[in-house]
Symmetry: C2
Subunit: 240 residues, 2 copies
Amino acid sequence: MTNPTAAMLVIGDEILTGRTRDSNMHFLTGELTRHGITMAEARVVQDDAPAIIAGVNALRASYDHVFTSGGIGPTHDDITADAIAQAFGVRISQRADAMALLAAHYQRSGMPFNEARQRMARIPDGAVLIENPISTAPGFTIGNVHVMAGVPNVFQAMVASVLPRLTGGAPLLSQSLRVDRGEGEVAETFGALAADFPDLSMGSYPFVVNGAYGTNLVIRGTDAGQIAAAMTRLAALFPA
Amino acid sequence: MTNPTAAMLVIGDEILTGRTRDSNMHFLTGELTRHGITMAEARVVQDDAPAIIAGVNALRASYDHVFTSGGIGPTHDDITADAIAQAFGVRISQRADAMALLAAHYQRSGMPFNEARQRMARIPDGAVLIENPISTAPGFTIGNVHVMAGVPNVFQAMVASVLPRLTGGAPLLSQSLRVDRGEGEVAETFGALAADFPDLSMGSYPFVVNGAYGTNLVIRGTDAGQIAAAMTRLAALFPA
């Protein structure tokens, strides 16, 4: 059985101008890997409706799940919800369920529930809300697309709200061996081992420490027995 | 005059399995911003030839420059150079200029210039080499695509080799104001200011410190005078 696939669409000028270094992609990738969903592609686009629409439509047609981050706040540059509605060809409005959540939140906190904040209740028709235990303003799932906030702690909380709903596969397992030899010296032997285990994925990652070359050899797969067999062979090929 | 546009294609299973957190995208974005080239999109794909070919062909048709990272080392999972040759429909072979560079490097270092290392001399026909002052194995430019290593210090050195060749525009400038109010309270006023300066880009980035809400308001553009005028208005709208 093959694991379900996923892609991520990171939305935001702040990433593409270098102001902010994205951390959500790395977080989501780790969570999906543990849940048995393969992260197959990620894209970063500007706060630009045509770019968001093209990105989400390409990815939702190619993968089982799409996760977006960013652009669902109260300000003029938060255009994600409207762009997603356009991508799906559905209407968008301030929905009663989201309005009720936000109204209660701002009443509790004593902050005005003004027009800008009411924008955060704009939800495309047919979407299901994603709970936001940090700051209330919800994300939403429409079709196979999960639309979430860009602020990392809110993004992480929304991922925790969504993931239990999704059917995963076997978690991706990995083991690695560090060898004190350059990548070019281990390449042939390692490539031959990889060819013997077509169901596993093997990657090599070179490094230099104090001028000495080394390589981390990583074996990934979903079958713990096969990984163990490959690691035993690998350790014999490159004794310490 | 509009600045040239660029996109990045990050190639590597290690990013999409969560093993490694990519740092090259953030680095390149900062360098391009200073050089007056707009980073418009970024994609991350697996070590998979069809995915690399589809990504590079989509991006090179849409943007002035494409920068790739990863997959040009000596091992079996390093398939970027061959995939790029396929994307351009050109032949690839161990080219004499790259072979000479590598042969001299391994002779100096006393390490064997074996078959795996000779793979790093595979360069698509018509490409121009990109110098690698760290570990010699070159990157290459073909058409508007710049193919570079994934190891961060080598990637950074290759960017330094490539950027002086490229015509940039006006560097993107930015200024920001931190206000001790939630994003929802500044949204309306900030949106109105943004509407008054259509040539500038304004973004708001909320944060929470010790339970108190705040927002960073960022103004970006290439005209220092306009940015200064907008910042003066912004400071008056949100006095400390």
